[in-house]
Symmetry: C2
Subunit: 337 residues, 2 copies
């Protein structure tokens, strides 16, 4: 199965649940949210763009299924995870000064930074309101554990974001630092998504799901990092070597900087110490990454996390949900976009 | 009783509970939060400044007491309300470009806008984690209702902030618009604080507490607005006519603009249409506010909400908590700081 085929499975119900969060919310405050989610243009006209991949909600529903539950019970939580993820994107775009996302102007470039911050804040509140709707179909004690997991994941996203921002001014970030950062910024929410799905299935022991999601998240982010540099522009929709040009300190870059430093080679550090990245420097960075085997190393690390994710699932009883969780992890490391 | 005497009552236990939220949190990410809360200086040295008045947590504990509960059960929720309030202050300072709060540099001026946004985001997550600790001493179903009330209040804060920001470019904001805005931005959290306190006392019917908090919040904000213009600088610690100089569209200003417009008097609108406020203009605005009786009108409106708050409490059985809720409302409209 391709990634799209797996994610398609629950997409319509997730989309419907997401839209329910906005039912009756007419204040102009909600317009930038609907815009960001791809449902509207900036002027309020309907849009068919749709939002992102929907990985987190799909993971939550599949984990619920794998743990023997009815995925319908996890829908409000799945929508909450997607909203929380999108809050982080809205604030991330402000923090990074990014003017475009998925080929469209970012929220803050249209509505300004003050309203942009506020839009993200409001999406957090909406995410909790959606999450708490899980109480309609699950016992309050379960919803309590779910909310605890959700809030803990939100805090980790922020801890990871703190590290990510603080890495910007540093050239001595190690692979270990980097893995800690993405473990918080990216993997914690995927881990939470899998754990929440299992909790809403009524499972008592959810450690395997949590660990599966964490490893999946690490594999996912490193694969993302590889695609950000070597992805095919016709498939990813982004320029070649995009993350090099943007001076992003993604895993291959951090690894090559670390290896260069150990080898007493200061070329790459000099390039990243400069405020801008000329085209000649982009080419040189690509050559150094090749020299340091950064791509194959990143691939190997992603594969390692992928296998760790599968190992966590192994003891679980076989069913359709488990089969799809395995397919999901495989599709995420093998994807080309 | 003075406001301080009422708020002192639970301050030490609230402070202790707040600090528990930070136990074991060593990452540099938490330093700006501790700074903002007045526990540390920017370089990490301990500080004895302390945080704000602590109105929201005190209100929550007093409501719990008034509803016949043990206020200790409401402590995690009280701390959560204080954290949520402080998130909104941290983001507000960025949104307004304010460089100082309570005589100190604001978080974003020290750590930058990206980390400032992230600090506020993290404080939201911490607030939910604190709130959910209420589950240790209250049934899960009650905590579910509490969390629902809390998230709904958070959403309203953001709706109010949306309106407040959008008012900045407008000169046609009416008193009604303004009351709607502060009903969301300020009063919703005070309303939530009172409701949550009552819920944690085990009360089934909490509408009176909710309405008390809402009216109290409106009276509180309008009194704040009066003090922001006519407060005694030696008591408030802020320059005289501070909110006029800052061009804040607070209640007396909105009211005077509205009255001026109705009377075909464009002097005040002309002053507020200009990007800066010269000292001569400040004096002229003060004279127009006097002419339009904006101060006495604001006082009368604050009194009206204060009495509406007391009316909501009237049917409740008499006890120490109720007595203090009455004192609190009185102290809030009579305060001079």
């Amino acid at each position: 199965l391709t990634l799209d085929e797996i994610l398609e499975r629950h997409r319509p119900t997730i989309e419907r649940t997401l839209r329910e969060s906005f039912a009756g919310r007419a204040l102009g405050f909600y317009a930038p949210m609907r815009y960001h989610l791809g449902w509207e243009e900036a002027d309020g006209r309907p849009s068919q763009r749709g939002s992102g991949k929907g990985l987190r909600p799909a993971l939550c529903l599949l984990a619920c299924e794998a743990a023997g539950g009815d995925p319908a019970r996890a829908l409000p939580a799945a929508a909450a995870l997607e909203l929380l993820h999108n809050f982080s994107l809205i604030h991330d775009d402000i923090q990074d000064g990014d003017r475009e996302r998925r080929g469209r102007a970012t929220v803050w470039t249209i509505w300004g930074v003050p309203q942009g911050i506020n839009t993200g804040d409001g999406m957090i509140a909406l995410s909790y309101l959606s999450l708490l709707r899980a109480g309609h179909s699950s016992p309050p004690a379960v919803v309590g554990r779910v909310a605890q997991t959700f809030a803990a994941a939100q805090l980790k996203i922020c801890e990871g974001q703190y590290l990510d921002i603080s890495f910007e001014d540093r050239l001595d970030v190690t692979s270990t630092d980097y893995l800690e950062m993405i473990g918080l910024k990216t993997a914690a929410l995927l881990s939470g998504a899998a754990e929440i799905g299992a909790l809403l299935a009524g499972a008592e022991h959810v450690a395997a799901f949590r660990a599966y999601g964490q490893n999946l998240g690490l594999a996912f982010q490193i694969t993302d990092d590889v695609l950000g540099i070597w992805g095919d522009p016709t498939v990813t929709g982004k320029p070649a070597a995009n993350d090099i040009r943007r001076r992003k300190k993604s895993f291959p870059v951090v690894y090559a900087l670390e290896q260069s430093h150990a080898a007493g080679d200061g070329r790459m550090a000099a390039i990243y110490a400069a405020p801008d990245m000329e085209e000649a420097a982009v080419a040189e960075v690509l050559a150094i990454l090749e020299e340091r085997r950064a791509r194959s190393h990143a691939h190997a690390i992603a594969e390692r996390f992928h296998h760790a994710a599968l190992t966590e699932l192994a003891p679980l009883p076989q069913n359709e949900g488990k089969r799809l969780l395995i397919e999901l992890s495989t599709a995420l490391v093998e994807r080309e976009y």
